[in-house]
Symmetry: C2
Subunit: 120 residues, 2 copies
Amino acid sequence: MHAFDVLGDPVRRHILDLLAEGERSAGEVVEAVGAEFGISQSAVSQHLAMLRTSGFATMRPDGARRLYSVDPTGLQEVDAWVDRFRHLWGARLSALETEIARGKRAQRQQEEGKNNERPD
Amino acid sequence: MHAFDVLGDPVRRHILDLLAEGERSAGEVVEAVGAEFGISQSAVSQHLAMLRTSGFATMRPDGARRLYSVDPTGLQEVDAWVDRFRHLWGARLSALETEIARGKRAQRQQEEGKNNERPD
DNA sequence: ATCCTAAATTAGTTATGGCTAATATTAGAC
DNA sequence: GTCTAATATTAGCCATAACTAATTTAGGAT
């Protein structure tokens, strides 16, 4: 199943949001998601399995419990796809691109300062 | 329909890839996509409509033809969602984040230089 | 060994997304 | 006006993703 199909489901996005805050046991995920979406333990378990097999989550056993975390792999895949289009939003990526612009200006000024005592 | 559901479909991703190269008429899209996926004009038209209503494409009429282009809106939405997880892959966003890091370093050095003649 | 809790798995049902086929719209040429 | 080309729209069919209910597996306690 393709990365975007995985993220297409609101329950799976919610699970990832939760895991983004840190490792969670399957039970904790069931409780949180159940509260929000009212679905069964089975359903959540199936989602967790899919997140794992599609590279969005990792699991480690802890006794009888299973602890899940975010796996960046799948998200990076998504990010890589979106990359192709980044140039379309004005070579300006809000806060991020502002930082870059400022950084470049700062660098330029610094480098010019090295060669020439008179910056613009 | 949610942005990720839109990108979940391989045909729609293919269309966006095509539009990323530049504006295309509906007919051109039908031909390109038809060749790759073997689906009808109707199917492609339905996909184009969805891309439009979900903020991934814009359309402008040109006589009887309709010219489609990528609309960054939907992609930005996706990008914003992924943002929450970026810190997970090493606070390193390939070229982009490298730029930021360099920029911050440059700024820091420059500012320190103003107050104190001895940079680290 | 028995029991309980945590979680996964399986089988079966249902809702929906994506398709085709047919039809409708619109623009331009004649 | 009629005809054709380009595209959109509608209705209906089908495949499948997501769910529930029931069962199974496994760990830890008594």
